[in-house]
């Protein structure tokens, strides 16, 4: 599979060097230590040795040029960039608008507190603790922290969402059965 590069001759960067360096450092650090509000990096297998990289990050709002975003992602991968078929950087809003994360993992507890009370016979204090646990689980599995503090656990492919959902179900037997994958309906009859 060909890997598409953006030649320096055809594009120019609009990013000040210090901003670029700071973003690059934060992207690299995310591989070592996940941070709340940091970039969420999806490596999407393509059935070959190549993969797509989708980076969802609010900081991209400061980087208007698609070429700059792409180049930053390629740089993070260093020698492994040869395996990247596509490097796409989007903000959360852009990802939602373009339906790039159509598979959402939700817990039935979040939707309905009464459900937690009825199903598990938990009191209000315990429910708050349960919801905090759910939030932490979602964060630890790639959840995106929204400006209002809520965490959305979304994925670009069904397989990735199913894998994580299974993992969550296996990790906490108490929460078992209450995690599920919700699929966003297509907004248009595209090709």
């Amino acid at each position: 599979m060909p890997v598409i590069r953006i030649s320096d001759a055809t594009t120019t960067t609009t990013l000040p060097p210090e901003v670029r360096e700071s973003l690059l450092t934060r992207l690299k650090n995310e591989f070592k230590q996940s941070t709340e509000g940091g970039p969420v990096i999806f490596e999407i297998p393509l059935g070959t040795e190549c993969f797509d990289v989708l980076v969802v990050w609010q900081e991209w709002a400061r980087v208007q040029s698609a070429e700059d975003r792409t180049r930053l992602i390629f740089d993070v991968y260093g020698d492994d960039q040869e395996k990247i078929a596509q490097a796409l950087g989007v903000t959360y809003e852009e990802a939602i608008q373009q339906q790039l994360l159509p598979y959402t993992i939700v817990s039935a507890f979040e939707k309905n507190h009464k459900f937690a009370w009825l199903a598990c016979n938990k009191n209000e204090g315990e429910i708050e603790k349960l919801l905090a646990d759910i939030r932490n689980d979602k964060r630890a599995n790639g959840g995106i922290v929204l400006p209002n503090g809520q965490v959305e656990l979304r994925f670009p492919t069904r397989a990735m969402a199913d894998n994580t959902c299974e993992k969550l179900r296996a990790e906490h037997t108490e929460h078992n059965l209450y995690w599920s994958v919700v699929i966003e309906a297509a907004v248009s009859d595209q090709l």
Partner: protein, 171 residues
């Protein structure tokens, strides 16, 4: 009625080959409609035929055989971020059926991959021109309209469709 299987749940993932075949089928069906003087319906199908030819050409050139919805969305998102090096315009508009956008994205993809021969570059430029010509007349909303389509308008689109089908595997 329960014995009739649902078509919607039996739609297999598209492959480049299937997309090309579907493009030919829609074109053949459009020909039948043209013969029956159903110009609007013919034009409607011709437009989709071009969209399929261009998308198939793009995915083929990018090294894919199968195309699923998630992959398609990611590639369209890229085309909607990326600016053409010549005119600085985004490669693809937010239109859900961007004929010209697919042609520009295809051309960009082939150019970025390198090794394009002058003849191939000319053919890709022609593809963009022809996509523009089709989009002059075609819109998905045609299906809701009673607009009168002239033979000249239909023929302009038809000639482009035939060109795209003839270029299969070469774009």
């Amino acid at each position: 009625m329960d014995n009739v299987p649902s078509l919607a749940v039996h739609m297999a993932p598209d492959t480049v080959r299937q997309l090309e075949q579907a493009a030919e089928k829609r074109s053949e069906e459009a020909e039948c409609l043209k013969k029956q003087n159903r110009f609007l319906a013919a034009l409607y199908l011709y437009g989709y035929s071009v969209e399929m030819c261009l998308a198939a050409a793009y995915f083929r050139s990018a090294g894919f055989q199968e195309i699923d919805d998630d992959l398609r969305r990611r590639r369209m998102a890229q085309a909607r971020q990326q600016r053409h090096p010549d005119d600085g315009e985004l490669l693809m508009s937010s239109d859900p059926h961007p004929l010209v956008g697919w042609a520009r994205f295809l051309e960009w993809q082939r150019r970025s991959s390198g090794g394009l021969k002058p003849r191939e570059a000319n053919r890709l430029r022609e593809a963009v021109q022809k996509a523009r010509q089709v989009y002059k007349h075609w819109r998905p909303e045609l299906r809701y309209k009673l607009t009168k389509v002239s033979l000249a308008q239909l023929d302009e689109v038809r000639q482009c469709v035939h060109w795209f089908i003839k270029q299969r595997g070469q774009l």
